[in-house]
């Protein structure tokens, strides 16, 4: 804790302590380290399947932006622990992240990351560059590495609109950090292999956001088709995938009824063609 001499003249409350950095996490480290995720005592035994895991997230660039979509399932081993979990988070006006891996740690990281971006923006009066945002997230994942070794793995997917390029950008990570910029599209989580295979055939460069949303929904359906931990659209309970688009107009989460309509259209197609749209052979 800071002594009075470290504070601006006259102030006594250590909330006024200036760490000289615009990072909220760094301030938290000095002011209230117990609030930081991943700073607990080491975990004695690996956690394994005991706590819920979040599954598949896909992202693809479109004309003037990027689309991210995620299924709604969380699993603990062979159990479905939640049917309507939300895994795509708005992190600021022009970026979002999806989480795969340990759900609780991921949610905590998404919350902290959002504050981190806003804190910088309010303090400095400017938004971080897209690279800056991606790098910051990499540091947060790296700090979680000791926990990841014990089974609390979080691997996010980061997507942002880059005003300098007027285009969307996608960044992937591994447990050690990153970032790895991905061209065109990327998927993370247990169903990612299937989703990526699907997107490989369905992705169209510079397609409209609406078409790219459809491609992402198809990819999620394909992932749910082959991966037991990925949830398909739940028609009876009306639980639909979370879909977000980011363009120069900012982050927009598609409302449920809009997604429902798109999913219904896709399901109708799948009634006659269970494997979904066919990519041309030549």
């Amino acid at each position: 804790m800071a002594s009075h001499r470290d504070l601006p003249a006259g102030l006594r409350d250590s909330i006024f302590l200036d760490t000289g950095s615009s990072s909220f996490t760094e301030f938290l480290t000095a002011y209230a380290p117990h609030l930081l995720p991943g700073r607990r005592e080491g975990i004695a035994t690996p956690i394994g399947d005991a706590i819920p895991h979040a599954t598949t997230i896909v992202a693809a660039t479109c004309a003037g932006g990027v689309v991210m979509a995620g299924d709604r399932r969380a699993t603990s081993g062979n159990m479905i622990s939640q049917r309507d979990v939300e895994k795509v988070y708005r992190t600021d006006d022009y970026s979002c992240m999806g989480i795969a891996g340990t759900a609780s740690t991921g949610i905590e990281m998404a919350r902290l990351y959002r504050v981190e971006l806003e804190h910088y923006e309010k303090r400095e009066g400017r938004t971080l560059s897209v690279e800056g945002k991606a790098n910051r997230l990499a540091t947060m994942i790296r700090e979680n590495l000791p926990n990841a070794m014990q089974g609390l793995v979080v691997v996010p997917l980061f997507a942002a609109y880059d005003p300098d390029r007027d285009a969307g950008r996608i960044f992937g990570y591994d447990v050690g950090g990153g970032p790895y910029e991905q061209q065109q599209f990327h998927a993370i989580g247990s169903g990612s292999i299937f989703a990526r295979g699907s997107l490989k055939k369905l992705y169209r460069e510079n397609a409209s956001p609406a078409d790219t949303v459809l491609a992402c929904l198809q990819a999620l359906y394909d992932a749910a088709d082959d991966d037991s931990a990925t949830g398909g659209p739940d028609v009876t309970r009306k639980i639909w995938p979370i879909v977000a688009t980011i363009t120069d107009e900012g982050f927009r989460r598609l409302p449920d009824d809009e997604v429902a309509e798109l999913v219904q259209g896709m399901l109708e197609g799948r009634m006659t063609d269970p494997d979904g749209p066919v990519a041309p052979l030549r």
Partner: protein
């Protein structure tokens, strides 16, 4: 009993400090904060484009300050940390302007009594609510006094004159362009020139925005709003407003902040601030 050498009565000390702070604040330019139909508008006369007098604190909370830059900047940054840490510990909805005003009041009060030099600052902390009745405006002075305000607040240099002009033109439920005109008029001396657009720092807390309500108005958008708020025939536009104002007062029971010695309650000459908002 003989007085120790160099003894200064506490009363004299406080008065000297208050005079010192007031003089410092009076040297600067003024700012105004006022409610309009969709939220809260901040207008500051600020010659610098790099150093802001108006800032976002949190989703619903904005901050306006006048006086010494380094002092109110330290308060602003502390306020951002306070809000971010509370929003992160609990929930985003648990961060309130009231809590922030209290933090500032505590620290400003302590500095005023303990330090040789008081802070030469005056602040407004504003929170936009779901409706205009739920909007909150807190005005803080250098000695840590807090006043709960409604409608419109002026702060800074020629505060009495600015508050007078503000009171004259302000009414409830103004549109954004009208409110901006009222604010700019208040910042303009009666026969003087309006501050150039490049020296106006303007921002809103717009309750209709999603997530973060704070928005800076700059460039072409600000120019458009300024043009919109300047009626082509001022006399024609003023007349019905004046009648409305005359007709309205019984409905508007709570008077807007009155300029003059009774507001704000500043120690040691003013009333003692009990914190009850009375």
């Amino acid at each position: 009993m003989s007085m120790p050498f160099g003894y200064v009565p506490a009363e004299q000390q406080m008065r000297d400090k208050a005079d010192y702070a007031r003089k410092g604040i009076a040297r600067g330019r003024s700012s105004v904060v006022l409610q309009y139909e969709h939220g809260i508008l901040f207008v500051a006369h600020n010659a610098s484009r790099a150093l802001h007098k108006i800032s976002e604190i949190y989703d619903r909370i904005g901050f306006a300050a006048v006086g010494r830059y380094n002092e109110f900047e330290a308060l602003r940054l502390g306020g951002i940390r306070y809000a971010d840490i509370n929003g992160y510990t609990y929930d985003r909805g648990d961060v309130t302007a009231r809590g922030l005003a209290n933090l500032y009041a505590q620290n400003l009060g302590m500095i005023f009594t303990d330090s040789i030099k008081p802070y030469e600052v005056e602040l407004v902390v504003a929170e936009v609510g779901e409706t205009s009745d739920a909007d909150q405006l807190y005005r803080l002075t250098f000695d840590g006094s807090v006043t709960d305000e409604h409608g419109a607040v002026a702060l800074g240099g020629q505060v009495d004159a600015v508050a007078g002009r503000l009171k004259e033109h302000y009414r409830e439920g103004l549109s954004l362009a009208e409110a901006l005109r009222v604010g700019v008029t208040a910042l303009t001396e009666p026969d003087g020139e309006r501050p150039p657009t490049s020296q106006l720092e303007v921002a809103v807390l717009d309750r209709n925005r999603p997530h973060r309500k704070f928005l800076r108005l700059t460039g072409a958008r600000l120019e458009r709003l300024l043009a919109e708020g300047t009626p082509a025939a001022p006399e024609a536009a003023e007349a019905p407003e004046a009648q409305e104002r005359q007709a309205e007062p019984p409905a508007q029971a709570a008077p807007p902040p009155a300029p003059g010695p009774d507001v704000p309650p500043t120690a040691p000459e003013g009333d003692i601030d009990t914190g009850s908002g009375g």
